[in-house]
């Protein structure tokens, strides 16, 4: 039953396919970015006077004149739209209304913190979900595991930010075990990543345990067991890897979600990432920064999704062999 691991090499045809796919997804990314900016263009028009939104409430007359010229507000809507899009594709998002920095570099400077939080959240999620899912899926009908499965189901209903609030209430306010703010201390990383994981893990646990219990009923496992293979090796070497493979799509979705969904967690823990920046800019309606943030997050989410698709194809031998 031992599978030999051959280092896999792409044939020329497959390399060609990968190239085509890369070009195609790049095209998709560009269309996605255009549609997001278009969406925001119209949201800006719906808000009333876009000049006030773009320049801020108490802008100087010169600034207003400059913005009028930059976006061509005196010209027809279609010209305004083209100017708007072309500004963005020169990566010119304008300057932040609150700090005066170029919006894009301002957003990029906050990116590392968000990436760190996403990596932490995902690491904790996986560290909880894989063993828990394997344990629950091994004997899903055992009494104790049923109770645990019920608890996991309940956890699934807890929104991440509510969990975060409860954690803050208990561990920061009442017990004072953790500092709640910032990310300079490693100790302060714990609660944000647990909050994120508490939201993501239940779904993943349920999926992995369903996959594991399904795999343990497969015939090849039964056969292997009947010829005397030990149960734990079947679980960890056959069933669990299969179960994780089946959950790759979900893991990818969750990873993409981390970038977008971490906004509230960042706000609650004052984590200086993109999410906190987005929140602060939304409060003062710092439109250039908002736009640059949406742009960056769209690119992040899109690349995670693309990578998930590729990982999916590469990890599943059936999909590899399907290619001629």
């Amino acid at each position: 039953m031992k599978s030999s691991h051959v280092i896999y090499q792409l044939s020329q045809h497959q390399r060609w396919r990968v190239g085509v796919k890369a070009v195609r997804s790049l095209g998709k990314l560009i269309i996605l970015l255009i549609s997001i900016t278009t969406f925001m263009f119209f949201a800006l028009r719906m808000a009333g006077d876009p000049i006030i939104v773009l320049a801020g409430e108490n802008a100087s007359v010169e600034l207003i004149e400059e913005i009028k010229k930059q976006y061509g507000f005196d010209r027809p809507l279609i010209v305004q739209y083209i100017l708007y899009i072309s500004n963005i594709f020169r990566l010119d998002f304008g300057e932040s209304l609150s700090t005066g920095q170029p919006a894009l570099s301002y957003v990029l400077s906050q990116l590392p913190a968000t990436l760190l939080l996403a990596a932490l959240g995902m690491a904790v999620t996986l560290a909880i979900s894989i063993p828990a899912g394997a344990w629950l899926g091994m004997k899903p009908d055992a009494w104790g595991r049923r109770v645990m499965a019920g608890a996991v189901f309940f956890m699934q209903g807890l929104p991440g930010f509510v969990t975060a609030l409860l954690l803050i209430q208990v561990f920061v306010v009442q017990l004072m075990w953790f500092p709640s703010l910032g990310y300079s201390q490693v100790k302060a990383w714990i609660l944000p990543s647990i909050s994120l994981a508490s939201f993501l893990a239940p779904k993943l646990i349920r999926m992995i345990s369903a996959n594991v219990s399904e795999a343990m009923r497969e015939e090849y496992i039964r056969t292997a067991r009947s010829v005397g293979a030990p149960g734990w090796s079947l679980l960890w070497r056959e069933a669990v890897p299969n179960a994780i493979l089946g959950a790759v799509a979900l893991i990818g979705t969750q990873f993409a979600f981390l970038f977008a969904g971490a906004v509230i967690i960042e706000v609650l823990f004052l984590w200086p990432g993109i999410g906190l920046l987005l929140f602060r800019s939304a409060q003062v309606l710092d439109f250039p920064v908002l736009q640059a943030t949406a742009f960056i997050i769209a690119i992040l989410v899109f690349s995670v999704n693309a990578m998930t698709n590729m990982a999916f194809e590469f990890l599943d031998p059936r999909m590899r062999r399907a290619a001629p």
Partner: protein
């Protein structure tokens, strides 16, 4: 002892032998309680949710006749919870409905008509699925302003593609079933096939999706309100209640615990119903993956 053939015994037998799961029944009962509380909130509210008595500010739970305590202005939290519940639940339902109608329209259109319509619609859905929904919603609401319609429309407009995708895929396979082809041969029109065969065939999937989507929208609504970008300031929606509680974490922890419990209750209920429906479909031999 009751006669075995009495109508109530038969009814009970039907209940216990049907496929309906405990989850579904529990979920529906819990949800009915929620709806009853909303509809008859006037009877359950013990105080005016908007008027407080400063002498009774920060009363803990159960004191001075306040079931769940009072806030910083002495307003009764139980009455405010019920008041906000209506707002939160109706915003989430409305957003779900908008997303469903848009998704169903696009999905059915793409499934029914082939050719360039399908190609274009599929590309649009593909694109829309890649939207970072919450981010766009935050920005749009920030720009347009708070309020019921801005919030629900935005949430609906950013979350419909998942409906379109699932409805498209499912109805594509339904359209190739023998009974649909047969009714087409007998001259049934497009509309009658869609409404008579496709939509009923989609029901198991849709009931699961709607329940889960409702839970998602509820969380999104309270999250946006919590960020100060959803409901109008004065309305005590659950998100707003949580938002206000942040300033009094030390003095009045119940201000946070109560709306949090409300959100958890509602989301849990919706998840129960969704899971119940999907168990129901599974027992009838269909697997629903969402």
């Amino acid at each position: 002892m009751s006669d075995k053939n009495s109508s109530s015994a038969r009814y009970f037998k039907r209940w216990t032998e049907s496929d309906i799961s405990v989850e579904l029944i529990t979920g529906v009962i819990l949800f009915s309680i929620l709806i009853a509380l909303i509809l008859f909130r006037g009877y359950f509210q013990t105080h005016d949710p908007y008027v407080g008595d400063l002498m009774e500010r920060f009363s803990p739970m159960g004191q001075n006749g306040h079931l769940l305590g009072t806030d910083n202005l002495g307003r009764d939290l139980w009455s405010r919870l019920l008041e906000g519940m209506m707002w939160s639940i109706s915003a989430a339902s409305m957003a779900t409905l908008i997303a469903f109608v848009m998704g169903a329209f696009v999905g059915l259109l793409a499934a029914q008509y082939g050719g360039w319509i399908r190609t274009i619609l599929n590309q649009v859905v593909d694109m829309a699925l890649a939207f970072p929904n919450l981010i766009i919603a935050i920005i749009v609401v920030a720009v347009i302003g708070r309020g019921f319609w801005p919030l629900t429309l935005t949430l609906g407009l950013v979350s419909w593609p998942i409906f379109a995708r699932v409805i498209y895929a499912e109805s594509l396979s339904l359209l190739e079933r023998d009974y649909v082809i047969a009714s087409h041969t007998f001259g049934a029109g497009t509309w009658s096939i869609l409404s008579g065969h496709i939509l009923p065939g989609l029901r198991p999937t849709l009931s699961v999706m709607l329940a889960f989507h409702f839970a998602d929208m509820l969380v999104a609504e309270s999250a946006l309100s919590f960020l100060g970008l959803g409901a109008p300031l004065g309305v005590p929606t659950w998100g707003n209640l949580l938002q206000q509680s942040r300033d009094f974490l030390f003095v009045a922890p119940w201000l946070m615990a109560v709306p949090a419990a409300g959100i958890i209750y509602a989301v849990f209920t919706a998840n129960l119903i969704g899971d119940g429906f999907s168990a129901l479909a599974r027992r009838r031999g269909r697997r629903i993956d969402i």
